[in-house]
Symmetry: C2
Subunit: 511 residues, 2 copies
């Protein structure tokens, strides 16, 4: 005989359990970060065992029946209706998360974890050798597991929507497909106009040699200046830059270094530090709980793209940044100008690799992946046919054919890592970023002018208030709509692209 | 109604469970390695939460009653008497480990983990500020927890012996104290003779500037040459060098860099690579089980000391290594000779910091800590009195008084990490190393002469056969006695020290 707990006690117990799970999940984040940055070459199989063992424990904790009972009682109790907004959102979302997790068999969770680690190793070898057969069997396995996951976790949804729910709660593929069609209708003419323009930006100035140690110091300075807190984070080196949160005060970003192309490291860092600013701006007292979690990957990407493209490629940013860059790289930039560097950053040039793509063509890369992975999940495309489908679509969209699979279907880690339904969030992020930046500029007088003086705190403060503070209490569309007072639309991104890339190519803004 | 399992099935189940626990424990090793090498400055508290959460899970798995039942059945079954040596040792040791763990309350295990992380942060601040009051309350807490652990885990043993059992199974403090007295009787006159000798080695040649990047490449080469496998390991930077095993193919060593003292990095690496060679030499098919585990910390230290001192400070080693060093550091060593460097490595000079001590005085540092920590555990010395007791004993042993606590009682991380009963294994290691090296030299013709040609594989092969392959199927004393055919004694270490340091100081060998 136990006395029933009060609603407040139940809520505290449910939150305590969830935080404990979040702490265990943050250990898994360390396993992943270390795997990408530090793992000795022969240590992959044991890391897979570690990931699988921990995944099983995390899954068991996430699906603990006692927690399920607490969440049912809370969902039916007074706090779900009369609690603070934080309490109501926490109860609603934890209950939903619980049901979704509890529907996954432990075996599937363990297999996904183990297969993810091994398939990523296979992917690294396959990409290095440009050998599709090294990866294909792993993708067969991974897509099969993901289809199983989709059917288990949200059985009433279309399987692709079920998978997207892990990254962009509330998103539906048919709505995204429609949005992407409209976006495409604006981007294709812009690419066409840029690549045939009489005036073409020249990026030769960015291809002069900048020594890596000087790059390291420089990009660290820039990240610090825009607000990334290195007492609560790190910067390391990986082939594929990423941002990973290992705890409320432990956000780790990575970039790569190219002696002959400074933007590789710099924009890698601006992008990942944008993610990091979001993570560092979440409410740390709610770590691991919905009010202290990111809203979605689309919102996450909006933050990284905003700092990378809307800040980092702006004229005002370079008025501030150029003298720093000149001091860091006197041989490369001694005779250059801020205008010259700013202009060089607006090159539009169709290319094979998504992560190296310019801002305008980037979204075409995303749409290709969205359509292909959706076709595989829906059973309309076989894994074996992926390379050919990729090359055909790519040739149609970009007017050139990938020279090999390393520059085509093998270039991204996502599918081998089981990140399916993830790609569309990149383009959603670009759209959200443009819409948020437009509104911030309206609301904060002198916002972009301040960039020229290294003043980025007003922008960060606006984002903290209107985006970061909400955690995931709202889904991405309502969040953007609340922050901007406008419906989500492709319009702001198209305006932003035409407005910035048009003049650089001798076209009128919005031409 | 279940059919009783066969002995072989039971054994497989018990081993499978133990391996799973070892996999989880290897995740904890990653948490610790990352904490030492990578953790952002504000991330300590969350890392403590991660460590505590994982410790609770590991402890629960280690004390799973189903595993206890399996082990009891195995201990009473036929394999415990008639199995292979591996099976017999595995059953005996897993059963013993299980009982020891099961006697520890979960609360104590979690508190030890959490206190260890937080006390280590406090220690780092205390040492940086040379502020004993910053550390003292954490040591009060830690020693109290360790006394509780001692009383729980092996209640029939003296509490210090109970704690030593975690590091040196079978060791007893009164026997070690007696061995240390005899060792001291040989070392004190050697220190006396060396520090008053008319001939004194001069290490000025080692204090010339060697740039850190060149040091990094050089020590990596040396580690590779003695046999450390970088496909199964890493080398990183920490203030306090260490070796940590994160999996059967993931052994990570660290060192530190001093531009004005090459031996700091080089001997750090030789020492830690010595540990690493042992870890990499364990039977990987028995990972996590007694036949594939290290015998004890004393045996571990014997391997590190052997490579560091008996190989790395030998004349033959420098005949091989000097030309490499000269190429790496032409400005510093261009006009030096191998003999000069070898001689410079035999300086005996009493100093405050254990990890910087020469090979001869080193053991006096260890004996001091052994006596003090034992007095605290036995209730004969209060934590508050540790700094004074340290300074008094140090002054008596070394003829000089630490200038501050950072150079005295605050210098080691061990006590804050809960590593009590650990220090004596350093000197046991020195003794085992000398005895093993003496025997290897007898058995393998031309062993040390080969060092001059960079031939270290014969020594490594001898160690793999006679030490590494045994895992922890034998305790340290029987293992050394089996490998050498002689009783463990201080005699070989004293002979080795007199033989090498005597002539360098103009004394006859064994004078």
């Amino acid at each position: 005989m136990t006395t029933p707990l009060s609603a407040a006690d139940l809520f505290a117990a449910a939150c305590g359990h969830t935080r404990r799970v979040a702490t265990l999940a943050s250990i898994d984040a360390l396993l992943g970060w270390d795997q990408q940055t530090m793992l000795p070459s022969s240590a992959g199989p044991h890391r897979a065992e570690q990931a699988a063992a921990l995944a099983a424990i995390v899954h068991a904790a996430r699906t603990d029946p006692a927690q399920g009972e607490r969440l049912v009682a809370l969902a039916e109790g007074p706090l779900a209706r009369n609690g603070t907004p934080e309490e109501q959102a926490t109860i609603r979302l934890l209950h939903r998360d619980f049901l979704k997790q509890a529907r996954l068999p432990v075996r599937l969770v363990e297999e996904l974890a183990r297969t993810g680690v091994e398939a990523q190793s296979a992917w690294a070898r396959a990409r290095a050798d440009s050998s599709w057969p090294l990866l294909a069997p792993w993708l067969e396995r991974m897509f099969a597991l993901k289809r199983e996951q989709a059917a288990c976790q949200l059985p009433d949804l279309d399987p692709y929507d079920s998978l997207m729910d892990d990254y962009e709660p509330g998103a539906r593929w048919h709505a995204i497909a429609a949005l992407f069609v409209r976006l495409r209708e604006g981007i294709v003419p812009l690419v066409q106009a840029c690549t045939t323009a009489s005036r073409r930006p020249d990026d030769a100035v960015l291809r002069r040699m900048c020594l890596v140690p000087a790059q390291q110091a420089f990009v660290r300075d820039v990240a610090t200046q825009i607000g990334f807190d290195f007492e609560r984070g790190r910067l390391d080196t990986t082939a594929h830059p990423f941002c990973s949160t290992l705890g409320p005060d432990d956000c780790r970003i990575t970039t790569r270094w190219d002696e002959h192309f400074l933007p590789s490291a710099l924009f890698g860092v601006l992008h990942e530090a944008g993610h990091g600013l979001y993570e560092q701006g979440l409410r740390r007292d709610w770590f691991g709980l919905p009010p202290g979690e990111a809203a979605s990957l689309g919102i996450h990407e909006s933050q990284s793209r905003l700092w990378e493209n809307l800040v980092g490629r702006s004229r005002e940013f370079w008025h501030w940044c150029f003298p720093l860059a000149q001091r860091a790289f006197p041989a490369a930039l001694g005779d250059a100008t801020a205008e010259q560097v700013h202009d060089a950053l607006l090159v539009v040039r169709p290319s094979f690799i998504r992560v190296e793509a310019d801002e305008v063509t980037y979204n075409l890369h995303v749409m290709l992946r969205f359509d292909l992975e959706r076709a595989v999940i829906h059973g309309d495309l076989a894994i074996a046919d992926l390379p050919a489908a990729w090359n055909e679509r790519f040739t149609a969209d970009f007017g050139m054919r990938p020279p090999d699979d390393a520059a085509g279907v093998l270039q991204d880690i996502h599918w081998s890592a089981g990140l399916i339904g993830y790609f569309p969030t990149y383009t959603l992020g670009n759209m959200f970023a443009a819409q948020l930046m437009d509104e911030a500029t309206r609301q904060v007088p002198g916002l972009t002018a301040g960039f020229a003086r290294g003043e980025f705190r007003p922008l960060l403060a606006w984002l903290r208030e209107h985006v970061h503070a909400a955690g995931r209490m709202l889904e991405s569309e309502p969040l953007v709509e609340r922050a901007t007072g406008r419906q989500v639309s492709e319009k702001w991104l198209l305006e932003s692209l035409w407005h910035r890339y048009g003049p650089a190519h001798g076209l009128g803004p919005g031409a």
